[in-house]
């Protein structure tokens, strides 16, 4: 299973963090710091795999964002690259030509999309279209309620 997924910018600012095991706040900060240092120090065109403690770290850079995740021993690193690619594609489909600012200003949407794709450190849905459909339907549900809220009461 995936232990964690982090998104951070080239300056080391965290944009998204998802932890799939219980971790204390202090430990989280430590891991984030170490990941940021390790990944940002890698020269371009390096191998995308690292070893850290007892985990395999897979990272990929998309424009100004680094996607970094920690895997257990049995997980397939090459497949994880595909997982990261799929997540970026989902974000792209939802936001329309996604960029870092989209993820900054709409971070909760990024989390919602992630939760339709990965759950408990494992892939939930392998179809490209199903995640997008679920997000749309959830949005309609949300709007309905907001409309309901904004209706005048008599």
């Amino acid at each position: 299973m995936m232990r964690f997924l982090l998104l951070f910018s080239r300056q080391g600012k965290l944009r998204l963090q998802k932890w799939f095991t219980p971790v204390t706040e202090r430990e989280k900060k430590k891991v984030i710091r170490e990941m940021t240092l390790m990944v940002l120090a890698r020269p371009p065109r390096s191998c995308n795999f690292l070893l850290w403690r007892d985990l395999k770290i897979v990272y990929k850079r998309y424009a100004s964002l680094y996607f970094c995740c920690g895997l257990e021993d049995q997980d397939n690193e090459l497949l994880t690259l595909e997982v990261l690619q799929r997540y970026v594609e989902l974000l792209d489909k939802y936001f329309g030509k996604v960029c870092e600012l989209d993820i900054i200003f709409n971070f909760e949407k990024a989390y919602f999309i992630l939760d339709e794709f990965l759950v408990g450190g494992e892939i939930l849905e392998t179809s490209k279209t199903a995640v997008g459909t679920a997000m749309e339907e959830a949005e309609t549900l949300q709007e309905t309620i907001e409309e309901h809220m904004s209706k005048p009461t008599y």
Partner: protein, 788 residues
């Protein structure tokens, strides 16, 4: 102004802050406002306030006061509030917080909500941060959802079940029937979840594993369907149909086929098909092939299939993509022990990867190259390794040097080659070698008697070039002290001899003594070497006398002591000097750590990675130190040196020559240690014997005998020790104990107790006697000879 703009407005303001202090100020103001809002009654903006808080939390600021708000929002009937509430719960609450228990009831209610999106929120949150108690409470609900719901919920329930099984393994039995039936679903998301769940169940429970072996044909069919199916736009990734599902199925097949011939046979054809038909030009295909190779190597596959798998790895090695080369080497590392010859074929490419720019690839290539060293290829491979050493990144140097030494130790084609190799390493990377290198090299040099002349010439040349590498300088000093006469003779068969005078040699040693680069240990070596030369040179003995007397008032206590003792040797004991400073006899390499510890059969209760490191015991260094401190132990008037090791030399006899021999004899004697019976049952007796104690290391020998009428088979011994003690089990002499006490099985265990804790060892004995398997545990708290 709509609330969500307020959130984005806040983000903009925070980002606009120019300094850290300004940002902190903005955030403090916002947090105060949020706190105030939380205290107010419901005003329709709660979810947005929580969202703001979550943003602040992501920047690294404390947000614990939002925990109760999460609980409140989750209980709200409105979907958007629930959504943000659950998101907050996943970010702020974990099983360690007390507040997490409060949401159990809400989750329970939401699991039966009429809207599937609310159900899915609850499922997702439970799967992300559900504690063991929550899992126990809600497991029956999840089981219900696994059976009777739509596929959107089923797939989420499946992964929720996976989380529950991880947290509370006993609940696995609850989900087994549902998991089985999920395999007949059509929806890929549900199938994927089902395969993950079954994998988790099988990994934890061997009975479940047995049960699911019957599902192998079904899984094979499923996989075939994916591989042969036409283009499906929904699941297609670079020409592969649903690689995510394919990889998970392969992983499950691996677990089911392990150690089982029938299951492995059933999947042979499929694996061959996948291996040949999958297009590996893109990462997705390579990922599937990689998983296939791992599966083939792990199950009981036929040899043709194994060859196919290794060839795939070979192809990967030549791929332009660094990731694929890295993966290939990782896999080859796993199989290098079992399929050694197959991997040897790719040695050339692996060695080329040593020159790659990437640090990860270099590391993998190094590990693999070291694993591939054999008697046949040692010369060519060592050239490559030495070349690598000269340009390797600093974090790999220590590992490289120790790997080179191990390889040289095991496969050196000649002593001269061995000595040359070690000297080369010391000149290139002398700062990164282990401490035992110096005594080991000295021991090696003494054994190579024909090469003394050659060695001392080489070392002398190295010494006058550069005195910064401590290990090299120490060995050089020792050699010059020992074989200085050969150096001065000016003739050598193996190499161009140097023409030096006694003054030149003494100059070199004095340079080392006086240089600020030399460590105290090195200076000790140099001083002793100078002293030894007093019997090997003829003209400049006075110079040596003066050097020695100068150092009699050196600040360094060790040097001062040595100098004073050598002075005494000149003055009062001149008649003994020649005998004391005589040529050393060959040092015996007699400790168990020097025999090759083949790593294939090492079994320990603590898991270890396969490494090639030989445990070098402390014996040689103790012996060398003892011998160097001969002067300390020989006569009564001389003060005993503080660095005498625990194996004290025997009492000195009266004659000078006899002194030397007795001391050496005393060092080697250790009385035969007593053996203690620690286990006696069913006719099997296990005895324990300790010997060769050094400061922190001990060798324990376990001997098993059998007095029954039938042979004992399948004998395995496992040992566990307290945490700070290091344990290494050597390969047992066998696993069958012949009947009637006709034979025995021995196994050696090396212990290292650096913290000197009280030593206990627990041994688990497993064996098959007269058809039945027996397993026993024995704890040994006291040892035959005083340990520490």
């Amino acid at each position: 102004m709509s609330p969500s703009v307020r959130l984005q407005e806040m983000i903009r303001v925070i980002r606009g802050a120019r300094t850290q202090g300004e940002e902190r100020g903005v955030i403090q103001r916002e947090c105060a406002a949020i706190r105030a809002q939380f205290r107010q009654a419901d005003n329709g903006t709660r979810s947005h306030n929580l969202a703001k808080l979550l943003y602040v939390h992501m920047l690294g600021y404390p947000a614990h006061f939002g925990q109760m708000e999460c609980v409140r929002l989750i209980a709200s009937p409105r979907y958007n509030e629930k959504r943000v509430g659950y998101l907050g719960a996943m970010m702020l609450l974990d099983e360690k917080q007390d507040a997490s228990l409060l949401i159990t009831n809400s989750i329970k209610n939401d699991l039966s909500h009429s809207s599937q999106y609310v159900q899915s929120l609850a499922l997702c949150t439970l799967a992300c941060m559900g504690s063991a108690e929550m899992c126990r409470d809600l497991a029956p609900e999840i089981d219900r959802l696994l059976r009777a719901s739509n596929s959107y919920i089923k797939k989420k329930a499946a992964l929720c079940a996976v989380h529950i099984v991880r947290k509370v393994p006993e609940l696995g039995e609850l989900f087994t029937p549902a998991a089985r039936s999920l395999l007949s679903e059509k929806n890929h998301g549900v199938l994927h979840g089902a395969v993950v769940l079954i994998t988790e169940l099988c990994e934890r429970n061997p009975d479940t594993l047995e049960q699911f072996r019957k599902a192998v044909p079904e899984l094979v069919q499923m996989m075939k369907g994916l591989v042969m199916s036409g283009y499906s736009p929904e699941h297609n990734v670079a020409g592969i149909s649903d690689p995510f599902l394919q990889v998970r199925i392969l992983r499950l097949l691996r677990i089911l086929g392990r150690n089982n011939d029938t299951a492995s046979d059933a999947m042979n054809d499929l694996l061959a098909q996948v291996a040949t038909n999958t297009d590996s030009s893109k990462t997705a295909g390579s990922a599937v092939l990689y998983e296939t190779v791992l599966t083939v190597m792990d199950i009981k596959s036929e040899s043709g299939l194994r060859v196919l798998a290794v060839n795939i790895l070979g192809r990967f090695l030549l791929n332009n993509d660094r990731n694929i080369r890295y993966i290939s080497m990782t896999s080859l590392q796993k199989i290098v022990q079992t399929d050694h010859n197959a991997v040897q074929r790719h040695r050339g490419t692996i060695v080329d990867c040593l020159k790659d720019q990437d640090a990860s690839v270099k590391r993998r290539a190094l590990e693999l190259s070291l694993a591939l060293v054999s008697a046949v290829n040692i010369r060519s491979l060592m050239k490559e390794l030495l070349l690598f050493l000269s340009s390797c990144p600093p974090e790999l140097r220590a590992h490289t040097t120790s790997g080179i030494f191990n390889a040289a130790e095991r496969y050196a084609p000649s002593q001269r080659w061995h000595i040359d190799t070690i000297l080369h390493v010391l000149t290139t990377a002398g700062g990164d070698v282990r401490d035992e290198t110096v005594p080991n090299l000295i021991q090696l040099i003494t054994t190579a008697t024909e090469l003394h002349c050659y060695t001392v010439h080489k070392l002398y040349r190295a010494l006058i070039t550069d005195i910064s590498v401590q290990s090299l300088v120490q060995v050089a000093c020792w050699c010059i002290g020992e074989y200085g006469d050969l150096l001065l003779r000016g003739e050598c068969e193996e190499t161009e001899p140097v023409q030096v005078t006694e003054d030149d040699v003494l100059d070199a040693l004095e340079t080392v003594l006086q240089s600020h680069m030399s460590s105290p240990a090195t200076r000790g070596f140099a001083l002793t070497a100078t002293m030894k030369l007093s019997t090997r040179i003829t003209h400049n003995v006075d110079r040596i006398r003066s050097i020695v007397s100068i150092y009699g008032s050196c600040i360094d206590v060790e040097l001062q002591q040595r100098a004073v003792e050598y002075n005494a040797l000149f003055k009062k004991y001149d008649h003994m000097r020649a005998a004391v400073l005589e040529r050393m006899p060959v040092i015996d390499k007699s400790s168990p750590g020097h025999t090759n510890g083949e790593s294939t059969t090492i079994k320990e209760l603590e898991p270890t990675k396969l490494t090639q490191e030989i445990v070098l015991s402390q014996e040689p260094s103790n012996q060398v130190c003892d011998l160097l401190d001969l002067l300390g132990g020989s006569g009564e008037p001389l003060q005993p040196s503080p660095s005498l090791s625990s194996t004290a030399p025997g009492p000195a006899s009266s004659t000078a020559g006899g002194d030397l021999l007795d001391l050496l004899g005393g060092l080697d004697v250790t009385p035969a240690p007593p053996s203690v019976t620690v286990y006696e049952k069913n006719g099997v007796t296990l005895k324990l014997q300790t010997d060769r104690q050094t400061d922190t290391g001990m060798t324990v020998t376990l001997t098993a005998t059998n007095s029954t009428d039938g042979d004992i088979t399948g004998l395995t011994l496992q040992a566990a020790v307290p945490k700070s003690v290091q344990l290494q089990m050597k390969a047992p002499s066998g696993d069958v104990i012949p009947a009637h006490g006709l034979g025995q099985v021995t196994q050696t265990v090396l212990l290292n107790n650096p913290n000197k804790v009280s030593l206990k060892i627990r041994v688990r004995v497993c064996y098959t006697s007269q058809g039945s398997v027996c397993q026993d545990m024995v704890q040994i708290d006291s040892f035959p000879s005083p340990a520490w």
